[in-house]
């Protein structure tokens, strides 16, 4: 049968599972797109994929390289302009789940995708905000996928591009943000979820073979750990075959 799942594959499969009961998901390219297409293949054939290029209900067969690939507009239920997309669809809170990546994530799931280093003299200039701030402030919930490393999961962001849970409990409400904010940070080691009372990201799930110590070591702050972290269910044959088939298309 199939070769055992790689950490990369596990991360994507776990992300896809999170979309099993969602109606609509807002995605960019890369892993979020792969996870959403996989979710449509395996868990949730009615899942509505929305890309910021304006394609609503896109049904890509291939993994798109850009959010504006022709296959997205050609298969969409409807295609709208960018102002309409952000005002009538994202801003209005019509989307259940927003998928985001980031260069840095802090313990409250705030995100940096702007600069590493000082803003005016950056060590690394990143692409910038794009749609992330409003996706995070308007979607029903947000799922973040990043690599689990001290470079990414940091004590302090170099720049706060996108508000997750701000400075902790109640911050979203004080800032006038809608939706529940980040509900999961899915890494190649496990899943971090905000603690219901402190809003701090807590290790609640470990991928097969990963130890709490490894996760702690790769986290840039003193990582809170759930009493009994769940162990990720291994990717099923159906999930893995679908994912590999998709990547091979």
């Amino acid at each position: 049968m199939s070769v055992a799942a790689s950490t990369d594959e596990v991360q994507t499969v776990v992300a896809a599972r999170r979309l099993a009961s969602a109606r609509t998901v807002f995605i960019g390219v890369g892993r979020p797109s792969i996870a959403a297409i996989l979710a449509r293949m395996v868990h949730n054939p009615d899942l509505v994929l929305i890309y910021e290029s304006g394609t609503i209900g896109a049904k890509p067969f291939h993994i798109p390289l850009s959010i504006g690939d022709g296959e997205l507009s050609e298969t969409a239920d409807t295609v709208v302009g960018v102002p309409e997309m952000f005002n009538y669809w994202i801003g209005a809170g019509r989307v259940d789940v927003g998928f985001l990546g980031a260069a840095q994530v802090d313990r409250y799931a705030n995100l940096n995708s702007t600069v590493i280093g000082d803003y005016d003299h950056p060590r690394t200039r990143l692409p910038g905000a794009g749609g992330a701030p409003e996706i995070a402030s308007s979607c029903g919930e947000v799922i973040v996928t990043v690599a689990h490393s001290r470079r990414t999961l940091v004590e302090r962001l170099d720049f706060l591009t996108t508000v997750g849970h701000g400075d902790g409990p109640g911050a979203r409400g004080r800032l006038g943000l809608r939706g529940r904010g980040p509900t999961a940070v899915i890494t190649d080691l496990g899943v971090l979820e905000p603690d219901p009372s402190s809003a701090e990201l807590t290790l609640t799930q470990l991928h097969p073979g990963v130890t709490v110590e490894q996760a702690r070591e790769q986290t840039g702050w003193e990582l809170a750990v759930a009493e009994r972290p769940r162990i990720t269910e291994r990717p099923s044959d159906a999930e893995l075959n679908a994912l590999r088939e998709l990547l091979a298309r």
Partner: protein
């Protein structure tokens, strides 16, 4: 096209149709050194041919406005044409960094560049306000982010509910340049597929140029099409393949391989410069 309502001599400058010009003539006439220029197209229909013509004509000191700078602005920035960049996402979609964009910001190469960055929602609303000739737009955004301290955003209170909302200033570029599939002889333009913010960019700008894949006898209405009447445009220029390596839905395909290749080409200053010399400066605009 003229700004009809802001001028006492309403009719004196009237043109009923956009002029059909050669791309080089259109760029020469409509774009000046120092202008603020919006070359729009959201992944789809990016006006590469027109941007390359800007470089061949040696335009300098431009304020480049674009939601997603993409490869085109990476090229313009790397060639030193930009004084300032206004944008919301400066990456090579699905590939990674825009190396010339990074090199300009991180190392001032080929010279320092000023930046003003926003979120997509902010930029889209800035264009929409410009198209409506309103001075600003309101949206829910920016609150709690470090962008507030580093960009031009203010806050207003809703006079009905008291809720505090972000306010962004209208964009009013000197020139907007977009690419479309086709135009008719009167310069009426039709584009379809992902529409992006092109309509807003054109309507917000003081002057406008549309490059098209082809001229047709008559625009055949298409599903999902945006039509720009010739009388809101200044010029239309034929540029077949003019959005490549981006694409024109139904006519050309996105050259994803080139987007990937660009990562290597653009990483090194010399290789970049040589590539631009060979593939852009050494060519002439298609007739």
């Amino acid at each position: 096209m003229i700004r009809c309502a802001r001028d006492d001599s309403v009719f004196t400058l009237r043109t009923a149709v956009a002029r059909l010009l050669h791309l080089s003539d259109a760029v020469a006439e409509l774009v000046r050194d120092g202008d603020s220029v919006a070359l729009e197209g959201f992944t789809h229909l990016i006006p590469f041919a027109a941007g390359h013509e800007l470089l061949r004509q040696g335009r300098r000191d431009l304020e480049l406005i674009r939601m997603t700078p993409d490869l085109l602005y990476d090229q313009l920035i790397g060639m030193g044409a930009a004084r300032r960049l206004v944008f919301s996402y400066g990456g090579n979609p699905g590939v990674g960094s825009l190396h010339r964009f990074r090199d300009a910001i991180e190392h001032d190469w080929p010279h320092p560049i000023e930046i003003e960055e926003h979120s997509h929602a902010g930029m889209a609303n800035r264009y929409a306000a410009g198209a409506a000739d309103l001075p600003f737009a309101v949206l829910r955004g920016y609150a709690g982010t470090d962008l507030v301290a580093h960009t031009n955003v203010r806050f207003v209170d809703c006079p009905f509910t008291g809720e505090r909302l972000a306010a962004v200033a209208a964009l009013r570029p000197d020139v907007a340049i977009v690419h479309a599939q086709e135009a008719d002889g009167d310069g009426n333009v039709q584009l379809w597929g992902i529409p992006g913010v092109q309509k807003e960019a054109v309507l917000a700008a003081r002057r406008s140029l549309v490059t098209v894949e082809r001229i047709v006898e008559r625009l055949l209405p298409r599903p999902g099409a945006v039509v720009l009447p010739g009388w809101v445009l200044d010029a239309v220029a034929v540029a077949p393949g003019g959005s490549q390596p981006s694409y024109s839905e139904g006519i050309t395909r996105r050259d994803n391989a080139f987007y990937r290749d660009w990562d290597e080409i653009s990483r090194d200053r010399q290789r970049f410069s040589a590539w631009m010399q060979e593939h852009v400066l050494g060519k002439v605009a298609a007739r």
